[in-house]
C-alpha cells in the first residue's frame, strides 16, 4: 500500500520538477565589453508609449548591433511594477510613480522622455467647438445633459470614457476637470483604447470623449478650452494645461544601468526628439518651457 503511495508522490514530485524546470526566469543585461554596447533590455508598460519606444529601439539596435531590446505593452501598472521588482529593465508609464497605488517610488528612478497633450473631442455635428472649463466640468460631471445648454444643437450628450484605471483618464480628470469627481455610472460608456474612443466619438451623434493629440483626425472635432487651441505650441508654453509626461522608470539597483541609461539618453537625443517624436504626434520634452512635479504644480522651466 505504502509503495503505491510512494509512487504517486514520486510522480507528483517529478511533474513539479518539470514545471519548475520549465520556468527559468531572469533577464540579464550583460555589462558592456570595452566600448561597444551589448546586452539585453526589456521595456514593459504603457501601450500609449509602445509605438514610439518600439521605433526608437529598432533604430538603437541598428546602431548597436550587440544590443537586443524587447518592447512589450501591458499597461502602465504592469510597467511600474516590473521596474519596481526588477523583472524588466524599463517600465513605461504615463503617470508618475507617486500617483500609482501600490508602487514604492523610492525604488525606481524617473526619466521623463516625452510629453503627450490631450484634449476633449466631440462628434463633428454637435454644433460646438469651444467650451469653458466650467462647461466641460459640467458635462463630465453629468450636470449638463444636452448640447443646447452649452450653445450647441438639441442633442443628448453621450460621454465616452476610458476605464477607471487608465492614465489618460487620470490626466484628463486631474487637469481638464480640475480634480472634480467625475461622471460615474451616469450612462457614460467606457472603452479600453484611444483608437476605439476615436472611432466611437466619430460615429456616435452627440458624443464627447478625450484623446491624445496623436489621435486627432478629421472624423472628430477637438475643442478649444477657454479660447486656447489644443496645439503643441500651447503645450510648450503651458497655456494648454491638459498634458502628461511619458515616463521611463528604471530600477535603482539595476545590474545593467549603463545600457539602460544609454537607451534613455538616445531617446532624449535631438535625433529622436526632433524627428520621431513629432512624427508620431507626441511632444518633445526638450521644447517644454514649463515643468510639472508629481503633485501637479506647474512652474517655469529652469
Amino acid at each position: 500500500m505504502w509503495r503505491k503511495g510512494l509512487k504517486v508522490a514520486g510522480a507528483i514530485g517529478l511533474s513539479l520538477a518539470l514545471i519548475v524546470g520549465c520556468s527559468n526566469g531572469g533577464n540579464g543585461g550583460d555589462q558592456s565589453e570595452g566600448g561597444g554596447l551589448s546586452g539585453n533590455l526589456i521595456a514593459v508598460g504603457s501601450s500609449a508609449m509602445q509605438p514610439l519606444v518600439e521605433e526608437a529601439a529598432a533604430k538603437f539596435m541598428e546602431e548597436n548591433s550587440g544590443v537586443n531590446i524587447t518592447v512589450q505593452g501591458g499597461g502602465s501598472g504592469a510597467g511600474l511594477s516590473a521596474a519596481m521588482d526588477g523583472s524588466a529593465n524599463i517600465g513605461n508609464s504615463d503617470v508618475f510613480a507617486e500617483e500609482k497605488d501600490g508602487i514604492d517610488s523610492e525604488k525606481v528612478e524617473d526619466h521623463q522622455v516625452f510629453v503627450v497633450g490631450m484634449g476633449p473631442v466631440v462628434h463633428p455635428e454637435v454644433g460646438v467647438d469651444e467650451l469653458t472649463q466650467e462647461q466641460l466640468i459640467d458635462i463630465f460631471t453629468g450636470e449638463v445633459k444636452n448640447w443646447k445648454e452649452v450653445g450647441g444643437k438639441d442633442q443628448e450628450i453621450v460621454l465616452v470614457n476610458r476605464p477607471e484605471s487608465s492614465g489618460t483618464r487620470a490626466t484628463f480628470a486631474k487637469f481638464a476637470l480640475d480634480n472634480n469627481e467625475e461622471f460615474r455610472g451616469k450612462g457614460g460608456i467606457e472603452e479600453d483604447s484611444s483608437g476605439t474612443v476615436q472611432k466611437i466619438v466619430g460615429e456616435t451623434p452627440g458624443a464627447i470623449g478625450y484623446l491624445a493629440f496623436s489621435y486627432f483626425n478629421d472624423k472628430v472635432t477637438p475643442l478649444k478650452l477657454d479660447g486656447v487651441e489644443p496645439t503643441d505650441e500651447n503645450v510648450y508654453s503651458g497655456e494648454w494645461y491638459v498634458w502628461a509626461y511619458q515616463h521611463m522608470y528604471t530600477n535603482k539597483d539595476s545590474q545593467s544601468k549603463e545600457l539602460e541609461q544609454a537607451f534613455i539618453d538616445y531617446i532624449l537625443s535631438d535625433e529622436i526628439q526632433e524627428s520621431l517624436i513629432p512624427e508620431l504626434g507626441y511632444i518633445p520634452v526638450n521644447k517644454m518651457e514649463v515643468e510639472r512635479d508629481p503633485e501637479g504644480k506647474v512652474s517655469e522651466k529652469k
Binding site: 501591458g74 501598472g77 501600490g102 492614465g167 456616435t204
Partner: protein, 310 residues
C-alpha cells in the same frame, strides 16, 4: 518494413516477462505524471486565484457590503468617501447577458439539432453540420468586431439609445453559443437507441409526436448540458462582449442601456493596476467569482448527466 515490425514485435513477445513488466511500469508512470500535472495545474490555479481574490477582504479590509454594492470608484479619494469597490452591477450584468443569451439560443439550437437529426438528416448533415462547425471556429474577437461595426450602429439608428447596450451583448453572445448548444444537442439526440423510436412509431405516434414527447423528453438532460455549457462559455467570454456593451458601471434599466460585466471590467483595468494594490485585488475577487460560477456550472452538468434508464 512490415516484416521488421513483426519481427521486433515477435522478439519482444518472446522476451522474458521482466522486460514486459518494466514497460508496464514505464507506461503507468508516464500516464500518472501526465495526470498529476493536470491536477497540480488546477490546484495551483485554484489556490492562486482564491488567495488573491480573498485578500481583498482579509488583507486590504474591504468590507463585503462595499464589494457587493453598485458603487464602483477605486480611484475616488478618501476625502470624497472612497474608494468604492462595488462590483454588484458587474455581477448582475454578467448574469443578465448570460441568461438572456441562453434564452435566445437554447430553443434555436435545439430546434436546429432536431431538424438535422430527425427531419432532414441527409440535408442536415451535408449543410448544417459544416455551418455549425464553421461558427465554432470563428474567433471571439471577430464576433466582437462585427458587433462593433454592424450591430451597434444598427441598434443606435433603428432602436435608439447609444447602440452600446445589453441587447448588443446578448445578440453577439447568442450567436457565439448557438453552435455549442446545437452540436451537443445533435450528439444527444443521435445517441438515443433506435428501439425507442421504433416503439413509438409502433404505437402509432406521428413523427412530431415522437420528437416532442419521446425524443426531447429522453434527451432532456443532454440538451440541458449543452445549454449550461453554452452559458458557461457566455459567462466567461470577455473580448466580444466588452466591445459591444459600452462598459458603463451601472445596473441597466432597459435592454438599450450600456452595461458592464465582470470579464469586461477585468480586461479593461488589469494592465493599468499594480500587482498587490487593493484595486488589483478587487479585480482578482471578480475573477474568483467567475471561477466559482464556472465550478457551479460544471457541478450542474454533473448532476444533470447522471445515467438514465430508458
Amino acid at each position: 518494413m512490415q516484416n521488421d515490425v513483426q519481427n521486433s514485435l515477435g522478439e519482444i513477445l518472446a522476451k522474458p516477462a521482466k522486460k514486459q513488466k518494466r514497460i508496464e511500469v514505464m507506461g503507468r508512470t508516464l500516464t500518472l505524471v501526465s495526470a498529476s500535472m493536470l491536477i497540480i495545474t488546477l490546484a495551483s490555479l485554484l489556490y492562486f486565484i482564491a488567495s488573491k481574490g480573498l485578500s481583498t477582504f482579509f488583507v486590504d479590509g474591504v468590507s463585503l457590503s462595499n464589494f457587493f454594492s453598485t458603487n464602483w470608484g477605486p480611484n475616488v479619494s478618501p476625502d470624497q468617501g472612497g474608494p468604492f469597490y462595488g462590483a454588484l452591477a458587474f455581477i448582475v450584468g454578467s448574469f443578465l447577458v448570460t441568461i438572456l443569451a441562453a434564452l435566445i439560443s437554447a430553443p434555436l439550437g435545439v430546434g436546429a439539432a432536431i431538424f438535422m437529426t430527425e427531419i432532414a438528416p441527409a440535408w442536415g448533415r451535408k449543410v448544417l453540420q459544416p455551418v455549425t462547425e464553421l461558427l465554432v471556429g470563428i474567433p471571439s474577437v471577430v464576433y466582437g468586431f462585427i458587433g462593433l461595426t454592424v450591430l451597434v450602429p444598427f441598434i443606435r439608428n433603428h432602436l435608439g439609445g447609444q447602440g452600446f447596450s445589453l441587447l448588443a451583448g446578448v445578440i453577439v453572445l447568442s450567436v457565439m453559443i448557438l453552435p455549442t448548444i446545437t452540436s451537443i444537442a445533435v450528439d444527444t439526440i443521435q445517441a438515443i437507441p433506435k428501439k425507442i423510436r421504433e416503439a413509438s412509431y409502433a404505437l402509432g405516434a406521428t413523427r412530431w409526436q415522437t420528437i416532442s414527447r419521446i425524443l426531447v423528453r429522453t434527451s432532456l438532460p443532454g440538451l440541458m448540458t449543452g445549454v449550461v455549457l453554452g452559458m458557461a462559455r457566455a459567462f466567461g467570454e470577455a473580448l466580444a462582449v466588452q466591445m459591444v456593451i459600452g462598459n458603463s458601471g451601472m445596473v441597466p434599466g432597459s435592454l438599450l442601456e450600456p452595461i458592464s460585466t465582470l470579464t469586461s471590467v477585468i480586461t479593461l483595468n488589469m494592465g493599468n493596476t499594480v500587482q498587490g494594490s487593493t484595486y488589483n485585488n478587487a479585480l482578482w475577487s471578480m475573477a474568483f467569482i467567475l471561477l466559482l460560477m464556472t465550478l457551479f456550472f460544471i457541478l450542474l452538468i454533473r448532476l444533470m448527466t447522471r445515467r438514465r434508464e430508458y
